[in-house]
């Protein structure tokens, strides 16, 4: 009843509304052009042209199956063996969606943290040193220093500094997720992609994680997929709303939440569906 009333009242609402960020203080660091993602013949992303501002947090929201995670995973080519991604992904002027791109070097610059905390069955120290050692860093002092700064940036240092050699599997969910963030930033990426990083965490851990992300914004450009509307509202500058593989609305977070221009966005952020 409610829903149909709303629909009839707001007939003037737009079908799609995309405002790319233009703040000169935060130039575009990553953008997608004509991006399409296919699983076999099924198109998962059909309209997803977005520009991401540097040193800002951009939230990707939308109902389950709307393609936001698929979109995020395409950005650092994690979909390579799973899906077909066409179009351009411009990172600082270079199209990283080309076959001759060294995806391993690219992923060092575009790091990723997953929904489920996924530390390796190694010690806390070795988890963070993993990617560094792969890159040939063996100097103990250098490793020590990077492990410490990464853990500090992820706000985990004070809790684990005496237990660096203990198994990472003994950490709580929130700690494990922050270890994963520390592990991702140990290789000093430019961009951090987070795929619902707080969905497996309790409210206290979630709020700590959000504080951490707000701190990390100074050093990294963050793109975060979230199911949690309040979370997007609390931490992000820009929000993109996905539905059925399309970006229906993209604007500053305050606009999306207070004055959405698309009916479905309005329904979604006010909790009427999704």
């Amino acid at each position: 009843m409610f829903l149909s009333n709303d629909l009839t009242q707001n007939t003037e609402m737009l079908e799609r509304h995309v405002v790319q960020p233009t703040d000169p203080q935060h130039p575009t660091i990553l953008s997608t052009e004509d991006l399409h993602v296919y699983y076999g013949k099924k198109e998962a992303i059909s309209e997803g042209d977005l520009r991401f501002a540097s040193n800002q947090i951009t939230a990707l929201i939308g109902p389950s199956g709307s393609g936001k995670s698929t979109f995020l995973r395409s950005l650092n080519r994690m979909n390579d063996r799973i899906a077909t991604v066409t179009g351009k992904i411009m990172y600082r002027g270079v199209d990283i969606n080309q076959p001759d791109i060294d995806v391993y070097e690219m992923r060092r610059r575009v790091g990723m943290v997953f929904q489920r905390p996924n530390p390796f069955a190694k010690s806390i120290y070795d988890n963070i040193a993993f990617a560094l050692r792969l890159r040939g860093v063996t100097d103990k002092h250098v490793l020590d220093e990077i492990v410490e700064t990464s853990l500090k940036q992820a706000a985990l240092w004070n809790q684990v500094k005496d237990d660096l050699n203990k198994s990472a599997l003994a950490l709580s969910g929130g700690q494990a997720q922050r270890l994963c963030i520390a592990r991702a930033i140990a290789v000093k990426p430019d961009i951090l992609l987070l795929d619902e990083p707080a969905s497996a965490l309790d409210p206290v851990s979630t709020s700590q994680l959000e504080d951490t992300l707000l701190d990390l914004k100074q050093h990294y450009s963050i793109i975060i997929v979230t199911h949690n509307m309040q979370q997007a509202g609390r931490i992000s500058e820009y929000t993109a709303f996905f539905n059925q593989g399309r970006v229906l609305e993209y604007d500053t977070t305050s606009h999306i939440f207070t004055n959405p221009q698309v009916q479905i966005t309005s329904d979604y952020v006010s909790g009427n569906f999704g």
């Binding site: 994690m78 996924n118 069955a121 990617a131 792969l134």
Partner: protein
């Protein structure tokens, strides 16, 4: 009041479903009981026969385990029967360990290819091939060994061609599918998010396989290898056809030798029940059985350790 009684009657009555439940439990429990009884009977029978050598025929356990001469019908200069099983024990262990050492790298390589590098081709081509290898009867392996492996060994190393080397070659092919398919299972059990975490950190696929997936799959891989060894240790027919069946300490890998199983299969039809010759063979069977139990124990221990990690 009446409704309460009715309800009580309905609730207490043994319905058809409840009776079926009892039947089901009874049937599955009796099946279990039967299997346990069979296992206990086998162990008891082999043990009673095998221990007779030591209790009825008064052979000392040490002579049996360390003696190098096997000829149960003959007594030596001291009047003791020649029942030294060491050549067979050494032969069995040597052939088992060697075939496992040769098979493991191939099995792991194949499993990695099937599960990590090319899952599609792995499923389409290699899976049926390994399953086919499992299904080939051991006498066919033995026959191929006899007509191909033995002549080749003879041509290269001289001698008769029969021996531990030929046995290892045949067993290598026989245990390869077992170890491979169990290694594939071990790799499959490694959670996908381990691989994703590694790849997202910029590790290459090979680095991911080597540093993350294989590490996590190590307990499962070890179980696979021990399973293969158990199979190699117990294989009789194919080994018997190519090893030469000389109950001597193997001087080299191309000298004719024998294993516990090959001596058993060649000898058991030619002895009289209750005689020393017969009992001595049962003692070999007991050693074989105990070793199988040890292999099982090792597999369990590895499995438990893997779970704790």
């Amino acid at each position: 009041m009446k409704t309460t009684e009715q309800l009580e009657h309905q609730l207490k009555r043994h319905s058809k479903a409840a009776k079926l439940e009892i039947w089901g439990k009874f049937i599955s429990f009796s099946a279990l009981l039967l299997i346990v009884a069979v296992v206990v009977a086998i162990i008891g029978f082999v043990a009673s026969k095998g221990l007779a050598t030591f209790f009825s025929n008064h052979v000392s356990l040490w002579d049996f385990l360390s003696g190098k001469s096997w000829n149960p019908g003959v007594t030596d200069a001291h009047g003791k029967p020649e029942v030294g099983a060491l050549p067979m024990i050494v032969g069995s262990f040597l052939i088992t360990v060697l075939s496992a050492i040769v098979a493991t790298p191939f099995a792991i390589g194949t499993a990695v290819f099937m599960n990590e590098i090319s899952p599609n081709k792995g499923a389409k081509i290699l899976q049926p091939v390994t399953e086919l290898l499992v299904g080939i009867p051991s006498v066919v392996y033995g026959f191929i060994g006899l007509s191909v492996v033995v002549p080749v060994t003879r041509a290269i190393f001289g001698g008769s061609g029969f021996g531990i080397l030929s046995g290892t070659c045949v067993l290598f092919v026989m245990i390869l599918p077992t170890v491979t398919s169990m290694s594939v299972d071990a790799l499959r059990a490694v959670p996908r998010y381990y691989r994703e975490a590694s790849l997202a950190l910029g590790a290459t696929q090979w680095q991911t396989i080597y540093k993350v997936v294989l590490r996590a799959a190590t307990p499962g891989m070890m179980t696979a290898v021990v399973f293969g060894m158990a199979r190699a240790f117990g294989e009789a027919l194919a080994v018997q056809m190519v090893i030469g069946n000389a109950a001597l300490m193997p001087g080299s890998l191309v000298d004719p030798a024998s294993t516990l199983t090959s001596v058993l299969t060649t000898g058991i039809g030619n002895t009289v029940m209750g005689s020393l010759q017969n009992n001595a063979l049962w003692s070999l069977a007991l050693v074989l059985l105990l070793m199988s139990l040890v292999f099982n124990l090792i597999i369990r221990l590895i499995g438990r350790k893997g779970r704790l990690q």
